[in-house]
Amino acid sequence: MLLHILLASPFVAAFLLALIPGRFLRASLVASTGLASAIAGFALFIISGLNGSPIASDSISWFTLPGTTATVHYSLFADGFALWMVLLTAILVTSVIWIGKTCAGERYKGFAALVFLLEGALFGCFLASDAVLFFLFFELLVPPAALLISVFGGAGRNRAAILFALYTLLGSAPMAIALWALATWTGTTDGMQIATALAAIAPEKVTLLFFAFALAFAVKTPLFPFHGWQAEAYSEAPAPVTALLSGAMAKVGVFGFLRWTMPIFPNEVVEYGTLFILLGLATVIYGALVAMRQTDIKRILAFSSLSHLGLTVVGAFTLHDGAIFGVVVMMVAHGFSAGALFLLAGIPERWNGTRNIFAFGGLASQSPRFSLLFMLACLAAVAVPGTLGFVGEFLILQGIWQTFGPIIALAAGLGAILSAAYTLRMVQAMLFGKATSTGVGPEIRKSEMVAIFPLIAILFVLGFAPKLVLHSVESTLGQAPSSVANAIPENAPNATER
C-alpha cells in the first residue's frame, strides 16, 4: 500500500497544482514546495523502515497484451536500490521546485506540474515490477521532459527537445517490440518469470532481445556513441531541468541495465559483457576528453556526466559484487553532485547572460558564498575522499581490478585524473583570476542556498557514513553471488507484503 501511495503522490501533486488558478503564483509556489517536501519525507520514511527485506505491493491484473496470452499486472516492488533512486529523485525535485521560480517566472505553475509528472514517471520506472509497466513509465518520461526543455529552455530549445525525444524513441522502440516478443514467447510480463521462461527459447532470439533492451538503456544513460542528444538537451534546458535530467533521469538507464537486462539475460550479459565494458570505458575517456575542450559550463557538466555514468556501466558489467555496490553508491553520489552543479551553473548564467566560463573570473573574491558552494560541489564531483563519490569510485575501481586486472582498472582510473583536469580548468576560469568588475559582485540568493546546500551536505555526510546507502542496498545486493542469474533477485514471494 505504501508503494502505491508513493507512486501516486507526484501525480496527485500535479493534479492538485492544476486546481490552483494560474494567477496565484505565490500559492502555487508554496503548495508545490510543500508537496515536494512531503513526498521526499515520505520516501525517506519508507527507506528508513526498510529492514533488510524488499517490499512488494499486491499485484493487480490490468490487461492482456494484444496478440499474446500474457497479462500485464500493476505491481510494484522496492528494495534499497530502488528506494535510494526514489529518494534521490524526490530530494532533487524538492530543490528544483523550490529554485524553479527563477527560470519559470509567470509560468511557474506549468513548470511545477511538469516536474511532478516527470517525478511520477521516474518513480514508476524505479518501482515497477512488471516489464510492461516499467516500459510504460519509461516512455512516460519523455513528454514531460521534452516539454520542460521546449517550453522553458534556451535559444535552441525546440531542436534540443526534438533531438531528445527522437533519440529516446529510436532507442526504446526496439525494446517495445522485444517486450511484445517476450510476452508472446513466455506468456508472462513479470521480470522474474520471464527470466526463467527464457531458458527454453533459442539463444539467437534471446540475443536479439538482449540488444533491444540494452539499446534503450544505452541511449538513456547515455553511452558513447548514443549520446548525441545529451549535450544539446542538457545545455538548452533551464538549469533546474538539467539538474533533474542528469541527476535523476539518466539513472534510469543504469538502473535498467541492473534491474532488467542482467536478471533477464544472464547468459548474454556474460557473453557480450566485454562489449559494454569497452563502450563504458570509451564513454569514460571520451566524455572527459571532450569536456576538457568545452567553454560552455553546461556542456562541460554534460560531458562530465557522460564520463561518470560511463564508469557506472563499466562497474555494472564487471558483475562483481563490490563493484555493483559501488555502482549504486556512485549513482546516488552523481545524482546529488550533478544536480547541485547544474543548479549552481544556472546562477552565473543569470548574472551575465552567458555560459562561457571565460566570461567570468575572480568570482571567489566577488561572490564568496556562490564560490564556496561551487567549490564543494566540484570536490564532490571529482570524488575527493570524504565525499560519497569517492566511496563509489573506490568500490567500482577495485571491482574492475578484481575482475579484469590492472590494465583495465588503470584505464578506468584515468577518468579520475581527467575529471580533475576539466573540473579545475572550469574552477580556475570562473572562480580565480582577475575579477571582471570591481567591488562586490552579485551573490547567490538565500533561497538558492536553501535549495542547493542540502544536496552538497548530503554528499559529505554520506561520504563519511556511506553505510546508510550500503546497508539498505545490502538487502538485495548483499547476498548476490558472482553469478548474474541471482545478481539482482527480485523474487516477489520472498518479499514481505505491505
Binding site: I162, A165, L289, R293, S365, V384, A409, L410, E443
Partner: protein, 651 residues
C-alpha cells in the same frame, strides 16, 4: 590495555574543528569591507594546532617505547569483500611523525599570524592551515591504507588551495592546478596499489597491523614466495608511484618548484616539513611489504639518488631564493628515498625528522627576508643583509650548517647515517655511496651560494627596499628561533657516534626492524663510523669553501630575465618538457580528436538529419512533440515487428 586510546580521535578533530570554525567566520566576513580582528583570529588559529600538539605530547608520554595504541571509532566502507574503518594507530612511527607535525605545524601557524598580517584573506588562510593539519594528522595516524588515502588526497587538496591562495594572479592558479593534477596522477597509483593488496591478502590487505601480520604469517609464505610475487611487485610499484608524486621524485617532481607560488609559511610547512615527506612515511609504514620486492626497492634507491643529484644541480641555477630551497627539498627527499630503497627505513625517517626542522627554519628565514624586502625574492637583488637582518641571518645560518652537515647539527647526524647505511647496503652500496657523497658536496655548494648572494657583499636592490628592510615581528621570530635551535640540536636523539643517544632508532625498531633484518640478513661491515663522519664533514667543507670562493667574487650584477636560462633552464625544466611530450601533448591531441573530429562531426550529421526530418514534415512540427513521437514510434515499431516476425519464421 590503554583506555585512553579511545580519545585518539581528538588529535585530528581539533584542527578540523578549527578549520570549520575559521571557515565559517571567513564566510561571514567575506562580503564586508574589513575582516575580523587579526589578534583574536590569530589566537584561534594557533590554539587548535597547539592543543593538538599538547594532546599528542600527552599521549606520547603515556606509554613506553615499543607499545602502541589502536582505536577504531566507526565503520566507513563495509561490504563483504572490503572493510574499511575510521581507525587510528598510535605507535612509535606515528608518535614521532605526529610530534613534529603538530609541533612544527603550531609554530608555523604562529609565524603566519605575523606573515599574513594585513592580508584580506587572513582568516581563510588560517582555515586552510588547520584543514591541512587535520589531513596530515589523519594521514599518519590512520590504521589503514584507505583512511591514509583520505589524508593523502586531503593534504593535496589543501596544498592546491594554499598554492593558489592569492588567486587573482592566474600564474598562481596555474601552479595550483599543476600541483593537484600531478598529485592526482600519483593518487591513482596509490589506489591501484591498494587494489593489488586487496587482491593479494583479501580483507587483511587494507589495515596496517593486519597486513603486517598477514605478511609475517608463515601460512602465507608459500603464496608470497610463489604466485603472489606478481601482485606484490604490482602493489609496491603502484604505491611507490603514488609516493613519487606526493614526495616530488622523478618523474613526478615538477609541481614542487612551481608550488613556491604559495605564501612562504605554506612552503615551509607543506612543501618542506610535512606533506612532501608522506611518501617516505608510507614506505616506512609498509616496509614489511616493500622488502619483499627487491626490484622495486632497487628502483626506489636509484630514483631517490637520481632525484637528489638532479635537483642539487638545478638548485645551483636558481636565482629565486624560494626556488633554491624548493630544489633543495626535492634533493633532500631524494636522500630519504635512497635510504629507504637501501633498506634503511629508520635512517630515512630520521632524515624526515631532522629535515623538518632545518628546512622549515630555512624557509621561514627566507620568508623573513622576503617580508623585510617587501616581497623581493630574487637573490640578485639582495646582498649585505647580514647587517640589516642579523637575527634572520642567524636563523638561516643555523639551517645552512645543518643542511650541509657540519658536525653536531641535526642534518649531520641524519645524512651521515644515511650515507653509512647506503655504503653497507650491498654490492652496489659503495657506488651509490660515492654518488650520494658527491651530491652532498653539491648541496653545500648551492646552499653556500644562496647564503653568499643574500648576506655577503653589499646590497644590490633599490634604495627604497633597503630603507624598508626591518626584522620581523615577534610572532615570526619565536617560531624561527625554536626551529633554528631544532636544526642545531634535534639530531642528538640519534647521534650514532655517541653511545646511548639512540632513542630514535630504538623507537623505530619494532616498526621497521623486521623488514630491515629481512633485507640485510647478515650485518655488512664497512669501515668505522668515524671514517664516514669524516668523509661527510669533508664533503660539507669542500662544498662550502668552493661555493664561497666561486660566488663571493662572481656575484651576478646583471639582471637578465627572471629564472635560469640556457643550459640551466634546460636542466631545470627537463621533466616539464618530458611531461609535456609524454602526457600533456598526447592528452591534448586526443581531446582535439574527440572534440573536433568526432563530436563536431557527430553533431553536424545530427543537424543534417534534423533538417531532413523537420523539413519533410513541417506539418508534424506544428503538432506537439508527443504526436511526432507517436507517428515515428508506430512506423519504427511496425518495421521492427515485421523484421522480428520474419526472423522468427526463418528460425
Amino acid at each position: 590495555m590503554y583506555p585512553i586510546a579511545s580519545y585518539l580521535w581528538l588529535i585530528p578533530a581539533l584542527p578540523l574543528a578549527g578549520a570549520i570554525l575559521l571557515g565559517i567566520i571567513s564566510q561571514l566576513y567575506a562580503r564586508r569591507d574589513f575582516g575580523p580582528s587579526e589578534r583574536s583570529m590569530g589566537i584561534l588559529a594557533v590554539a587548535f594546532p597547539a592543543l593538538a600538539f599538547a594532546v599528542t605530547v600527552f599521549f606520547a608520554t603515556r606509554f613506553p617505547l615499543g607499545e602502541s595504541l589502536r582505536s577504531v571509532i566507526a565503520p566507513w566502507i563495509v561490504i563483504d569483500q572490503v572493510s574499511v574503518s575510521f581507525g587510528f594507530l598510535f605507535d612509535d612511527l606515528s608518535r614521532i611523525m605526529l610530534l613534529f607535525i603538530t609541533g612544527i605545524g603550531a609554530l608555523i601557524t604562529l609565524y603566519s599570524v605575523g606573515y599574513m598580517h594585513g592580508d584580506r584573506g587572513f582568516v581563510r588562510f588560517m582555515a586552510y592551515m588547520n584543514l591541512f593539519l587535520f589531513s596530515m594528522i589523519t594521514l599518519v595516524l590512520s590504521d589503514n591504507l584507505v583512511l591514509t588515502f583520505l589524508g593523502w588526497e586531503g593534504v593535496g587538496l589543501c596544498s592546491y588551495l594554499l598554492i593558489g591562495f592569492w588567486h587573482s594572479d592566474p600564474a598562481n592558479g596555474a601552479a595550483a592546478n599543476k600541483a593537484f593534477l600531478v598529485n592526482r596522477a600519483g593518487d591513482l597509483g596509490f589506489l591501484l596499489g591498494i587494489f593489488a593488496l586487496i587482491t593479494l591478502a583479501g580483507p587483511s590487505g587494507i589495515s596496517f597491523p593486519e597486513l603486517k601480520a598477514w605478511l609475517l604469517d608463515p601460512e602465507n609464505s608459500s603464496l608470497i614466495q610463489g604466485p603472489g610475487q606478481l601482485l606484490i611487485l604490482l602493489a609496491t610499484f603502484f604505491l611507490f608511484w603514488g609516493c613519487t608524486a606526493k614526495s616530488a621524485q622523478i618523474p613526478l617532481l615538477t609541481w614542487l618548484p612551481d608550488a613556491m607560488a604559495g605564501p612562504t609559511p605554506v612552503s615551509a610547512l607543506i612543501h618542506a616539513a610535512t606533506m612532501v615527506t608522506s611518501g617516505v612515511y608510507l614506505l616506512a609504514r609498509l616496509s614489511d611489504l616493500f622488502v619483499l620486492s627487491p626490484i622495486v626497492m632497487g628502483m626506489i634507491a636509484v630514483i631517490g639518488l637520481g632525484t637528489a643529484m638532479w635537483a642539487a644541480v638545478a638548485g645551483i641555477f636558481q636565482d629565486d631564493i624560494k626556488k633554491v630551497l624548493a630544489y633543495s627539498t626535492v634533493s633532500q627527499l631524494g636522500f630519504m628515498f635512497l635510504a629507504a630503497g637501501c633498506g634503511a627505513f629508520d635512517a630515512a625517517i630520521f632524515h624526515v625528522f631532522t629535515h623538518a626542522f632545518f628546512k622549515a627554519a630555512l624557509f621561514l628565514g627566507a620568508g623573513s627576508v622576503i617580508h623585510a624586502l617587501a616581497g623581493e625574492q630574487d637573490l640578485r637583488r639582495m646582498g649585505g643583509l647580514v647587517k640589516s637582518l642579523p637575527i634572520t641571518f642567524i636563523i638561516l645560518a643555523s639551517g645552512w650548517i645543518a643542511i650541509i652537515g657540519i658536525p653536531g647539527t641535526a642534518g649531520f647526524w641524519s645524512k651521515d647515517l644515511i650515507l653509512e647505511r647506503v655504503y653497507v647496503s650491498g654490492p652496489m652500496g659503495p657506488v651509490l655511496y660515492f654518488a650520494a657523497l658527491a651530491t652532498a658536496i653539491l648541496t653545500a655548494l648551492y646552499m653556500t651560494r644562496m647564503m653568499v648572494l643574500a648576506f655577503a657583499g653589499s646590497f644590490r636592490g633599490s634604495h627604497h627596499t633597503k630603507d624598508h628592510a626591518h626584522e620581523s615581528p615577534l610572532s615570526m621570530r619565536i617560531p624561527m628561533l625554536v626551529l633554528a635551535a631544532g636544526s642545531l640540536l634535534a639530531g642528538f636523539v640519534w647521534a650514532g657516534l655517541i653511545p646511548g643517544l639512540d632513542i630514535f632508532g630504538r623507537a623505530l625498531a619494532p616498526i621497521v626492524g623486521n623488514a630491515q633484518h629481512l633485507f640485510h640478513p647478515a650485518e655488512h661491515h664497512g669501515p668505522s663510523a668515524w671514517i664516514f663522519a669524516a668523509a661527510g664533514t669533508a664533503a660539507a667543507v669542500v662544498g662550502a669553501i668552493s661555493g664561497w670562493i666561486t660566488y663571493i667574487r662572481r656575484i651576478p650584477s646583471l639582471l637578465g630575465a627572471p629564472g635560469p636560462h640556457g643550459l640551466a633552464k634546460r636542466w631545470t625544466l627537463a621533466f616539464d618538457s618530458l611531461h609535456f611530450v609524454f602526457a600533456i601533448l598526447p592528452t591534448r591531441v586526443a581531446a582535439w580528436i574527440s572534440d573536433v573530429l568526432v563530436q563536431r562531426t557527430f553533431e553536424g550529421l545530427q543537424i543534417l538529419a534534423g533538417f531532413f526530418v523537420l523539413d519533410s514534415a513541417s506539418v508534424i512540427r506544428k503538432l506537439q512533440v508527443s504526436s511526432l513521437r507517436l507517428q515515428l514510434g508506430l512506423t519504427l515499431g511496425l518495421g521492427l515487428l515485421i523484421s522480428i516476425l520474419i526472423l522468427e519464421r526463418i528460425s
